[in-house]
Amino acid sequence: MIDMEESLVKELTKKFVFLEGKCIITRERRISVEAPKKAFLDIIGYAASKLKFEQLCAITGLDAGENLEFIYHLANREGIMLNLKLTVSKANPEINTVTAVYNGAIFYERELEDLLGAKVAGLPREKHYPLPENWPEGQYPLRKDWKPDAVQQK
């Protein structure tokens, strides 16, 4: 039932040996991979071009206490989802943009900046999205310590 998933994991660990033991087939059509920050762009680029995960479905950002965690949900045409996980510390929440690989990722990455306070290197500084223009600096609604009353209605 999960032959295709297993062969994808095999290909991925053959190319990136350090991913050995970090790839889990969570169920049919779902693969979860913990990717180190240093090689992240290489891995996502390889997944997109060589493993044919042509589509970036979404990027989930999570507040994980000391760290911020990002999950890049990739999909191929066979319906398999590859969930690439990237963890960075809150003290230095910098990640690289994946827009060179997935051109349509701009909205997803701007959302990470606005709502979680990630710093996405390589993403052009534009207006706020999805928060309004007059949103105060340093308020990140999806952080766990943020409460809605932190921003006063004027």
Binding site: Q55, A58, L62
Partner: protein, 406 residues
């Protein structure tokens, strides 16, 4: 030639919901288009973290008026996956049935909007009248025209009776007959074809590059449909075709949507003819064990993605929603650039961004006396018939496709 910047939105008569487009014009041509969204961001993901799964279910259902069942199903199947629940077969059939009826009403609604945007208001009135058949069916099955509240964690809340099955089948026959006519319109009506062909082009390679989804992708020949690729609910047991087209423009998107209606009728018939007996629900725990899952759902507008992380309590740790319109908005600038200003409304409408149509009751306040009364659906209908009669128009004399006047 000088360039002119035209701001369209966030409040604009041509837009059905708040979004803002900055259109740079060179003569009549769009040289560049910039989109700004976020005006409707309501913080639902954050709100979900401080509510129980049951409360979230109702909140998530209200993300969208048109695709309410899509979001609710996508969220619930994610929670069920974490909790390890497998729902009864009858429940998954009912979920799928409501999902397909929702697609039918959404596509017919879109067809009307598209007709309206290109000045073909007859098509708008035809398709919205026909849409009432499926709205009535949804109201009969669930009690509501939108926000059906059929789902619950572990199954569904409402059964379908043998009589109701017959009613649905009858309505599907009528709708199928009408849809055949719309397919004919999309393939043969010269004014429609010359108005839509070549407008808002988005070829296959750009679809893949920008991650567009749903009918927008399928109209460019990308055979992508979650119901087939990553089946959920009862779709693995259903036989249907994934409709694609190679026009890669607004005409293609029209053809894909009307032909998808036929596939929906096919699925609805299969569901109703083979719906198994059995329970509607399995008992779900109040507290969901720690874990995470991500599921996808083919909403009328394209792929809907929900991610849920649980922490062992009765409230989720994180809920993430990626609605299909967000995926398609990345491609809107490409579709607009190089086209005419006059095409902007239909190109935007052709990705089918969603708006709510929940009104079915009117509260009438007498401004002088302050008295209030409620007009229900039938009251409203009677009022409109009476109003037209006073203008000298007798609606009963107008031949209808419905065959009956209620």
């Amino acid at each position: 030639m000088g360039k002119i910047l035209i701001p369209i939105g966030p409040q604009h008569p041509a837009l059905k919901e708040p979004e803002s487009f900055n259109i740079l014009l060179e003569g009549e041509r769009v040289a560049a288009a910039n989109v700004t969204i976020g005006y409707n961001h309501r913080g639902i993901e954050k709100a979900c973290e401080s509510r129980t799964y049951i409360q979230d279910m109702y909140l998530i259902e209200r993300i969208c008026g048109i695709c309410s069942h899509s979001h609710s199903t996508c969220f619930i199947q994610t929670v069920e996956e974490i909790a390890g629940l497998s729902i009864p077969k009858r429940a998954s059939f009912i979920r799928t049935l409501i999902g397909e009826l929702e697609r039918v009403h959404s596509h017919l609604l879109w067809l009307g909007v598209a007709g309206h945007e290109i000045g073909f208001d007859t098509l708008f009135m035809y398709s919205w009248r026909d849409r009432e058949f499926v709205m009535d069916i949804l109201a009969m099955l669930t009690g509501n025209r939108v926000n059906y509240s059929v789902n619950t964690i572990g199954g569904v809340r409402r059964d379908i009776s043998a009589d109701q099955i017959q009613e649905v089948l009858k309505a599907v026959d009528i709708l199928e007959n009408r849809t055949e006519y719309y397919i004919q319109v999309a393939y043969e009506e010269t004014t429609l074809i010359s108005r839509l062909a070549g407008v808002g082009r988005l070829p296959e390679d750009v679809v893949m590059r920008l991650g567009a989804t749903g009918p927008v992708a399928r109209a460019a020949g990308v055979k992508k449909d979650v119901r087939r690729d990553d089946p959920y609910a009862a779709y693995a047991d259903m036989e249907f075709n994934v409709i694609t087209d190679d026009h890669a423009d607004v005409l293609g998107r029209t053809i894909v949507r009307v032909k998808e209606l036929m596939e929906s009728y096919k699925i609805i018939r299969q569901l109703l003819n083979s719906i198994p007996d059995g329970p509607l629900i399995v008992k779900a725990p109040r507290k969901i064990p720690a874990g995470e899952a991500v599921t996808r759902y083919e909403a009328p507008r394209g792929e809907d993605v929900h991610y849920v992380k649980s922490n062992g309590t009765d409230m989720p740790e994180r809920v993430k929603v990626r609605a299909p319109t967000l995926a398609n908005l990345a491609a809107i600038s490409y579709m607009l650039e190089g086209g005419y200003l006059a095409d902007v409304p239909i190109v935007i409408a052709a990705i089918d961004p969603c708006f709510s149509c929940t009104d079915r009751m009117i509260k009438v306040s007498n401004m002088n006396s302050g008295e209030e009364s409620i007009l229900d659906w039938n009251g409203l209908r009677d009022y409109s018939i009476k109003w037209y009669r006073e203008q000298g128009i007798e609606l009963n004399n107008i031949k209808t496709f419905r065959g009956e006047v209620r």
